[in-house]
Amino acid sequence: MNTYSPVMGLEVHVELKTKSKMFCSCSADYFGKKPNTHTCPVCLGLPGALPVPNKTAIEWCIKIGLALGCEIQLFSKFDRKNYFYPDLAKGYQISQYDQPFALKGSIVLSDGKKIGITRVHMEEDTGKLTHAGDSTMIDFNRSGVPLVEIVTEPDFENAAQVVEYLKKLQQIVRYLDVSNADMEKGDMRLEPNISLRKNDQTGLPNYKVEVKNINSFKFVDRAIEFEIKRQTEILDKGETPPQETRGFNEAKQNTVSQRIKEEANDYRYFPEPDIPPLRFTESQILDIRSQMLEMPDEKYERFQKEFGLSEYDAKILTRDRALANYFEEAVKLGQKDNISSKQIANDIINKKIDINSTPLKELIEQIAIRSQVVTIDESHLKETILLVLSENEKAVTDYKAGKTNVLMFLVGQVMRKYTSKIDAKIVMEMAQNMLQ
């Protein structure tokens, strides 16, 4: 019945964790703070107050661009996006329109599928509305917090690709240490656009549905599945789904129409006159690049090569940078005890080591103890075996009568007399010899 294939793109907003906001010196750490305590004339949009761009935020945006393999633009500028909403202090959002900081990058998924990144640009967050009964309250603590928007090409074919892309993106910004990318706190906001193409059709479908308000990877999956089903039903009737913006309803796990195309805003973009255009030199970009540490994909490859890890182990150990660093430090420390990187990887993964509560030294000691080969003094072992044989005369008689399986019982008895773990094979061989 399903004769359509999904055509999907993504817009992701990532909130940066800079100390101060995008255009003023207010603290950008707004989460859970008392409303309207992190504000000033600039982020309140008071008459006459002017935006002054945050250099660190711009560098971090460029870092994200570089990590996504983008071309960094040597000439860039801010623009005003004009629209009215009570949480938008100035009546316009400072964003970037036609000359963003970074263009044309990509993320490669595990199956080799390449997702094109159209652009990476910088903008400011809005305030937050809280509705209580008949009144609405505005909290401007979030107003002006730096946001980076990452837009992809319509390259996704299914929800699984979208989720993998999002996890990779989250991992990258965490590796760069520019965002906590905490979904629950709204550090990362997802807007998939979804349409369906008939399997015999080429080119893009003639409509696009954008879904907003999604704050978890699970819900993005749900929203996509819901949309595919909904749009399939419409297309099956021979109709075209309307071009619209829909919102994801968590409780009902469905999407609801918010705005159709005819009501779409004309944002009247124009260059932000309060901020001069930005020019970068190649060497400035190189300088930013040189500050960047290894990205997850590079680390993943290196871990396999350098430490002989399996793809599975490398994937888990590079999931976050702190864990990867912990592993590498442990390998270094373990070298003098002849502990292999594989042993360490196994231990960390299988024992689900909590890297925050297990100091490296302790980890190595434990592994060393567990893998220690106890050298057995042969004469002592002989004595021990004799003792065990004399204590278990019946077993010895049984053995001699052909019941050879009692040997394992005798070996067990010998091993119980040792406090440390000894090699059962050695005990067995010696006991066998002595019994004959």
């Binding site: 309140l44 901020i275 001069p276």
Partner: protein
């Protein structure tokens, strides 16, 4: 305490008052009181002020007098304008004093912060005597567009004083203050200066911080002032100019000693006379202005300047370009006045603001952006190039400020386009960012006429040098209105 006779505020300049205050010929409180008295008596006729901050002014003056008594001469040099009463255009944010922008939308708005320039002026020791009237949101060329009533020209109260910084020009012309601040986006300082026999400076774009001054057209707003003399203008700019961390459009350009070359004269300087600043030259109302310009140029020639004809070929497009870019920015800058958090709602906007919001919204709309805004920006670049080319040949340019003398109140009210065209000689410098100094050049039919000296970016020093040379020769500032 009785006021000493020695204080004659009609002939007083900042330079003179500084000296007198330091020599304790009179106190700052006495000086401030003299101005406040005059405002009380004459402002009802002229309507130059929206708010008079009498209590604050007297308190500041008292503090200034204490400083005069307690500080050494060396310490006093840190307060270059100590005890000097000034007025601020009511579009400069002042902490604790309402700031209306001339509009009823903000009739009750009291800013919680000072504009950077206000801070600088306070730090320099000035006494802020009040907030002056203006065309609402600085939209206008006559002062009549104020929602607090029009300001009248002290030279003849049936005439407009020019706008939009109407109240500031009149405050200086009528001796309500020793200096007054303004903003110039399309001529709003130079035009009223030329209509009131005052010196008006439009600095280079970015020379003076815009932070805290309510934006009209952000890419063209410049922050200047009115004084009686060129020397005073230089003194004032020494305080207001400089890079500001709160305004990203102020470059890291050192502030020179603006008084250093003041008396150097004009000998050997090449002055450009633009051919294009002469439209409709046969109209009789413009003949008197033309005559005055000729006389002024003769004075400069006599002083040793060389006059060179130059061309600014794209001048004819300036008004069209200006009336696309400016309303576009206005439409965006006024969006925040939605009545939600402060001020009255949008229904309080006057006709002119609504006109510009509509114009600007249209020119920025999808499908029209390329034809209007983008094209205008391209022509703007050509206009800038015109100036760059001209300044390869000449040191400065001299041009008329206004094509006509001041007009009668009400004369152009029903014709917005005619009002727009009064800025025909001034808007080019706003589009290009060049500085312009308006200097009085006499009177035609008892009403003041001015010229503007335009220089390369950040050449204010040179403008003062030329303006001062001319002024010392003619001393038009000594003539005061009879009110």
């Amino acid at each position: 305490m009785t006021r000493k006779k020695i204080m004659d505020i009609k002939s007083l300049t900042i330079a003179q008052a500084k000296k007198d205050l330091q020599e304790k010929k009179y106190s700052s409180v006495e000086l401030t009181t003299a101005y406040l008295d005059r405002i009380e008596k004459l402002n009802p006729t002229l309507n130059a002020f929206i708010t008079v901050s009498k209590a604050e002014a007297l308190e500041q003056a008292k503090k200034a007098d204490e400083q005069f008594s307690n500080l050494t001469i060396e310490q006093l040099s840190n307060y270059p304008l100590l005890g000097i009463p000034i007025a601020l255009k009511d579009i400069y944010s002042t902490i604790g004093i309402r700031t209306t922008a001339g509009s009823t939308v903000l009739e009750n708005y009291v800013p919680p912060f000072d504009a950077t320039v206000v801070k600088k002026l306070k730090d320099a020791g000035t006494i802020i005597i009040g907030k002056t009237n203006l065309d609402a949101w600085a939209h206008g060329s006559s002062g009549e567009n104020s929602e607090f009533g029009p300001t009248k020209n002290p030279w003849n109260t049936a005439y407009v004083p020019g706008g939009s910084s109407s109240g500031s020009a009149v405050a200086v012309a009528a001796d309500f203050a020793l200096a007054a601040s303004g903003t110039d986006t399309g001529g709003s300082i130079r035009l009223p200066a030329s209509f009131t026999n005052t010196v008006g400076l439009k600095p280079t774009y970015g020379r003076v911080s815009r932070a805290g001054i309510i934006s009209m057209s952000s890419s063209m707003d410049t922050i200047g002032h009115f004084t009686k003399t060129v020397e005073d203008s230089a003194l004032y700019l020494s305080v207001s100019a400089g890079q500001d961390p709160m305004d990203a459009t102020t470059p890291d350009q050192p502030v020179p000693d603006y008084l250093k070359n003041l008396t150097k004269g004009v000998k050997g300087l090449k002055i450009g006379i633009p051919l294009e600043f002469n439209p409709f030259e046969d109209e009789p109302t413009r003949q008197a202005n033309k005559m005055k310009m000729k006389e002024a140029l003769n004075v400069l020639s006599k002083l040793g300047a060389e006059m060179v004809e130059i061309s600014l070929p794209h001048t004819e497009y300036a008004i069209a370009v200006y009336y696309i870019i400016q309303p576009s920015e206005v439409s965006s800058n006024l969006a925040r006045f939605d009545g939600i958090r402060f001020g009255n709602d949008r229904s309080s906007f006057g006709e002119e603001a609504k006109r510009r919001i509509m114009l600007g919204t249209y020119t920025l709309s999808a499908g029209y952006y390329d034809a209007y805004y983008k094209k205008a920006m391209k022509v703007r670049t050509l206009i800038k190039k015109d100036f760059d080319e001209a300044f390869k040949k000449v040191d400065a340019i001299i041009a008329p400020v206004s094509p006509t003398p001041p007009w009668k109140l009400g004369e152009k009210n029903d014709d917005p386009l005619a009002m727009y065209l009064s800025d025909i000689y001034t808007v080019t410098a706003n589009l290009s960012g060049n500085p312009g100094l308006a200097v009085p050049i006499g009177f035609a039919n008892e009403l003041p006429v001015g010229m503007q000296i335009i220089g390369p970016h950040f050449s204010e020093e040179l403008l003062f040098q030329i303006g001062h040379a001319y002024e010392q020769e003619t001393k038009w500032f000594e003539k005061r209105p009879n009110i």
